[in-house]
Symmetry: C2
Subunit: 409 residues, 2 copies
């Protein structure tokens, strides 16, 4: 009797070479032999994707997106076939598929397609035959059979979507860390692995810079209630389970601290203080497809005010251009840039019902003489902008203040 | 107005690296701009296929055929996408497809599938939009969408099959030589490029060791009357046109000389001379999937005879085993092996209506004191087995005897 379906996703760091492919095969076979039906999603081997992009760039710096998807999708097809071979070698039956073959239907937005439908009939048939099913991550096909890729974190999306359609017991994200931590262990020595997190917390942590999962996959898992297990590819230890909020979670005020050093602050000076002026600014900036994170507008006393906001460093150049354009249009002054910033954030479901959390966070920073430049809050997170050089000290101070090193959940 | 459809196939030697991909793109674009609709079949880049096989072999020496096809088919998909990019870069619209995407339906014999149907609707649609269509060679998909490969020479087969379905004006096989020659130019200095050949002649030449095309593709082209042009990827010179036999061809007695040094001769000694004994021997050998080429049985004077036959060197070991088994069963004597042989053959449509051709060939060899060990003839070819060390001298003597260096067709 089957104990149910488990979806396991192995990312690029888990399949860096043939040796690792063999280790993954053993892990998959062990899960099968423990009585589960197993569907494996696999990323491209090692630096395959980078190498393929290099080849394309030798031909043209602006390849058509459709052809780029044709090219890049081969990486995951290769690793899927190799993993199937390695599982066969261990005496277990396995069969590999491309995204198109298992009916992952997407829209036609090449290089960043969205899944619109999955017909899992073939997977179900193969599972019934007792086979381990391997699916190339990161890819699908449009309704007219053109190959598409799903963009950054696409393999995670494939895993969550298949787990949903197959009604899997668990969607395991097997990676090179043991789970989600209360803070980056490279910064905070006694950072603790978190056993359980709500989707909302994980979503905020991911958005704030935790690298383990992309916000898009978590949003999808949350929407369909797919339970996720972030765990190590190299051990059998339990990792972090991400699921719906349960009562017990509310006792934990703060689950983790995140640090993001990739943002920059842009200030438009001397903005005329008229109704609708902020809307005008951010509408023009949104038109350029720039994602604005935090926004601060000082109260005006002189009829003109400064408007500051943060963006990803990679979008800084086009942001400066757009800001100068809009400053000219509305009769504002200079545009200044500050790249020397870090964003420190705390996340926790319990914040909803606990007051004084923000005050504790600010106090932790004050005790270390760390100045706060900007503040932004949501229901379950608080973010502060500080000087970049003080970011790590800020994380340690907050981790200590909230006593995160002690296990609670 | 379109001048019609041209199918161009570029083999591995034409796309060894990115530089070559760019050259091929130029050639394709020139054909398009000359007014033709162009469908391109492309092989895998350089040593991609070998590298993929190496990866598989690091995992297992006996990978499942289905997974091997999943793996190997990525090579042609990659080169197709890269060629499409290179064509775009030159300002011409191009779109690449896998075999499965353009409806190349095969049976389920992985690693050596046969094409059973082609639905060329998508190709026709794209050609109508003015696009150059690129198809990954060597592959298709079975009726249940499993990816298959077509075996050795598979890209040529893809090209001929698409040329047939699209009713193309010409199927160009673009390669690293300028056409089919009267003999291997490395052996015979004044060997001459042949302008025109019948399918039958090309079929015999290919079967006899000429490397340009596989017998399977020629058989297919012959069956459906697809005109083939074997030409160089690196020049615009006309190569060799292969088409139906026309009256003029009959005036040419001998079209070319071929040499094959990869065969071995096996002799089963003292075979009892009873009716049906040869049938028994070759039925048992055929059971082992061994392709026997020439067969000689001496007239018996003593009640026992020697039976000799030739096989490909790669099949020698299993042939020896099978021969010893059958020798034991029928009460024959020893099995001896001679690897020191070469097969020299002449091919020509004109032989049908000219007598004395064989005599001329034997005379050419006799004049150089080359001894003939075995002889085999068909309607349009004569083959002789000689000592391996004399094979090249034999080719030169015959080329000279029939005056092949002088242009005739």
């Amino acid at each position: 009797m089957s104990k149910g379906i488990v979806v396991q996703k192995y990312g690029g760091t888990s399949v860096t070479d043939i040796g690792r492919i063999k280790s993954v095969a053993k892990r998959v076979v062990n899960t099968r032999r423990a009585g589960y039906e197993v569907v494996v999603i696999v990323s491209a081997l090692g630096h395959t994707t980078d190498k393929l992009i290099d080849l394309a760039m030798k031909i043209t710096t602006s390849p058509p997106d459709r052809e780029l998807d044709m090219l890049l999708s081969t990486g995951e097809q290769m690793s899927s076939a190799l993993l199937a071979m390695a599982i066969h070698k261990l005496g277990q039956d396995a069969i590999s598929f491309t995204g198109a073959q298992v009916g992952i239907v997407t829209d036609g937005s090449f290089t960043k397609a969205r899944i619109i439908d999955i017909n899992a009939k073939r997977i179900e048939e193969e599972l019934k035959k007792g086979r381990i099913v391997i699916v190339a991550g990161f890819q699908g096909a449009s309704v007219n059979q053109d190959i598409t890729t799903l963009g950054r974190g696409g393999s995670n999306l494939t895993a969550v979507a298949l787990a949903k359609v197959l009604n899997a017991k668990m969607c395991e994200m097997c990676t090179d860390v043991e789970g989600v931590f209360t803070a980056d262990p490279r910064i905070v020595k006694n950072a603790r692995k978190i056993d359980k997190l709500s989707y909302e917390e994980m979503f905020e942590l991911a958005s704030l810079g935790a690298q383990v999962l992309q916000p898009r996959s978590i949003e999808f898992a949350m929407k369909f209630g797919v339970p996720i297990h972030v765990r190590s590819s190299f051990s059998n230890k339990l990792g972090t389970i991400i699921s719906k909020e349960v009562k017990a979670m509310e006792h934990i005020v703060v689950s983790g601290v995140a640090l993001n050093k990739n943002e920059a602050k842009v200030t438009i000076c001397d903005v005329p203080d008229k109704p609708g002026i902020a809307a005008k600014i951010f509408k023009d900036i949104a038109k350029e497809n720039i994602n604005v994170d935090m926004i601060i507008q000082n109260v005006s006393r002189t009829g003109a005010t400064d408007v500051s906001f943060t963006v990803m460093g990679s979008e800084l150049n086009k942001t400066i251009k757009a800001s100068k354009d809009v400053a000219g249009k509305i009769g504002a002054g200079d545009v200044t840039v500050d790249k020397d910033i870090a964003k420190v954030s705390i996340v926790g479901i319990g914040m909803k019902s606990h007051s004084g959390v923000a005050a504790d966070m600010f106090e932790a920073l004050a005790e270390k003489s760390i100045n706060i430049e900007m503040i932004s809050t949501s229901e379950i997170k608080i973010s502060c902008i500080v000087k970049k050089s003080l970011g790590e000290a800020a994380v340690r101070a907050i981790h200590e203040k909230f006593g995160l090193a002690k296990s609670k959940r």
